[in-house]
Point group: C2
Chain length 315, copies 2
């Protein structure tokens, strides 16, 4: 039975991924877990603690999903914590796994699926970002994710691990309570009105962004774990499919799915700090490599809303 370790397994995507891996031996690691969480084995700890990471590596899981991070807004305000958790934890993890690889005489080579982000890209952008576009992040979160990609790629090229980095679109609609991500409002303006709650909109409705659902994200992760990384030819960071829509188009989709009463609950509440972060984010992609490899997301924002209603909406 394949052994799987999910770092950041207490988070929203980690929990959904865990519940989907019904034929594997799954262990979850996180700083905390939801009380009604997935039933897999839980280990609690801080991913930035090298001793903890070494203990995890010593379990020699076949597949490691590395989803652990602090979100973009927090990485921008808590600079040191952002670098420790989002970047140096990967450094400690890779070194701990290399030590296991060396101790196994090279037989242990774990698959690592790492959730990077489209925040590795920074403005100015072409109309669509293609697979050869530079990573010039304009946020700490983006810089940390891009740094992890480089380390993961080089440790993989050397054969110590077998890594792939997925530059996830913004995941929308996130269920549950708002988090500190600067991107949180993209979900909030859909989720809260569907639940009869007012939602602040901190940016103009002309803002365009790149989205995929939590269901699509879990699909990306599982597909990446199965992929023969030889086909990546050394470029182990992938831009993924998604939907490019403006906030106005999100709102129109909400109107089609849930009516004008829902739309009325969206309240303009301009926030310069959030706008400052979002301004530097990508708007649209041409993710040809990932599409050629068979990665798939939704075809419309209406569909993204329907996925939320099917998977997460609770009356």
């Amino acid at each position: 039975m394949t052994t799987v370790l999910i770092l950041g397994g207490g988070g929203m995507i980690g929990q959904k991924l865990a519940r989907s891996l019904t034929t594997s031996d799954v262990t979850l690691f996180d700083i905390a877990f939801p009380p009604d969480g997935a039933p897999e084995q839980q280990i609690t700890g801080n991913i930035a603690d090298p001793a903890k990471v070494q203990a995890l590596a010593a379990r020699r899981p076949d597949v490691i999903y590395h989803l652990a991070a602090i979100v973009s807004g927090q990485a921008e305000t808590d600079f040191e914590m952002g670098w420790d958790i989002n970047m140096m934890a990967m450094w400690h993890l890779l070194n701990a796994l290399k030590a296991e690889h060396d101790a196994s005489n090279g037989t242990y080579v774990p698959k690592i699926v790492f959730t990077s982000s489209i925040a590795v890209f920074g403005a100015p952008f072409p109309e669509k970002i293609d697979d050869d576009f530079l990573t010039a992040p304009q946020t700490s979160y983006g810089a940390q994710k891009a740094g992890c990609e480089l380390m993961l790629s080089d440790f993989s090229r050397k054969g110590f691990v077998d890594g792939i980095a997925l530059r996830l679109p913004t995941i929308c609609v996130r269920p549950g309570a708002p988090n500190a991500a600067a991107s949180g409002f993209f979900s909030g303006i859909i989720r809260e009105p569907l639940n009869g709650v007012q939602a602040p909109l901190p940016v103009p409705d002309t803002v365009r962004h790149w989205h995929a659902s939590p269901r699509a994200a879990v699909g990306f992760l599982r597909k990446a774990a199965q992929l023969d990384t030889e086909v990546l030819q050394g470029r182990r960071a992938l831009n993924l499919p998604g939907i490019s829509v403006t906030v106005a188009q999100q709102i129109e989709a909400l109107r089609r799915v849930a009516g004008q009463d829902a739309v009325k609950l969206i309240q303009p509440a301009p926030d310069d700090a959030i706008m400052g972060i979002v301004r530097g984010w990508p708007q649209d992609f041409a993710p040809q490599r990932a599409q050629a490899l068979g990665f798939e997301a939704e075809d419309s924002f209406d569909e993204i809303i329907k996925v939320y209603l099917e998977d997460d909406f609770q009356k």
Copy 2:
């Protein structure tokens, strides 16, 4: 008087840079120094030692040139040392400088000029690499340099330091003894014949690469230290001007400058390890941003040979 710290000040470029900075208060740091070196103050130590780096930061130099690195060939064979010296030293340096910045209530913001490399790029390449091309390095050295660029950029964006990363072309003709750089033969096939010594050529003469002279490199560094980095608009890593030539074109230039007797001293000596590294290196660039900012290199490989003869050749 401007205070200047040159990390890697014992190296070839560091020494030339030191000798050129006649109106600054210059301190050199390196693991070792040449016996007949530049007369500036020398501090000996390991750049990978965090305590040493903190002590250097506590001097609060106005300008820091960070040239310290182990070369590409060594970073490929000594994996851990490569990451420690080429990447983690920058991490410790930036954190030490941020601590000084914080302790100064934000008044201390050192200029950092960092020598990155065109090794941040990996094959496959377009015919000419433009300023928007992705960094997908295929060597540890390239990955380490690209990682430093990301950290330097984010610490700069936050205002803790004021950094710029220069992606130096391969520096040719290097004076003195061969070093462990995989690129060393590009200089060796010119330098050794000019000095009447045989030179091995480990790659086919169809290999094309991107070169600038040591004199041009010192010019890049000094210009970068003077640059108002606001004009970089957050993209603090620059591709620099150079000359794109094949090894055959290098040899033809040598023939024009020094005659057939010199050319005869070049001996084909195929080396798969070197070819494996060089295969993943860039061949040609369109460095429009740097050119628009006034960075200048040589116009021909003949000129590069003449610079060697003027600056470094000793009868």
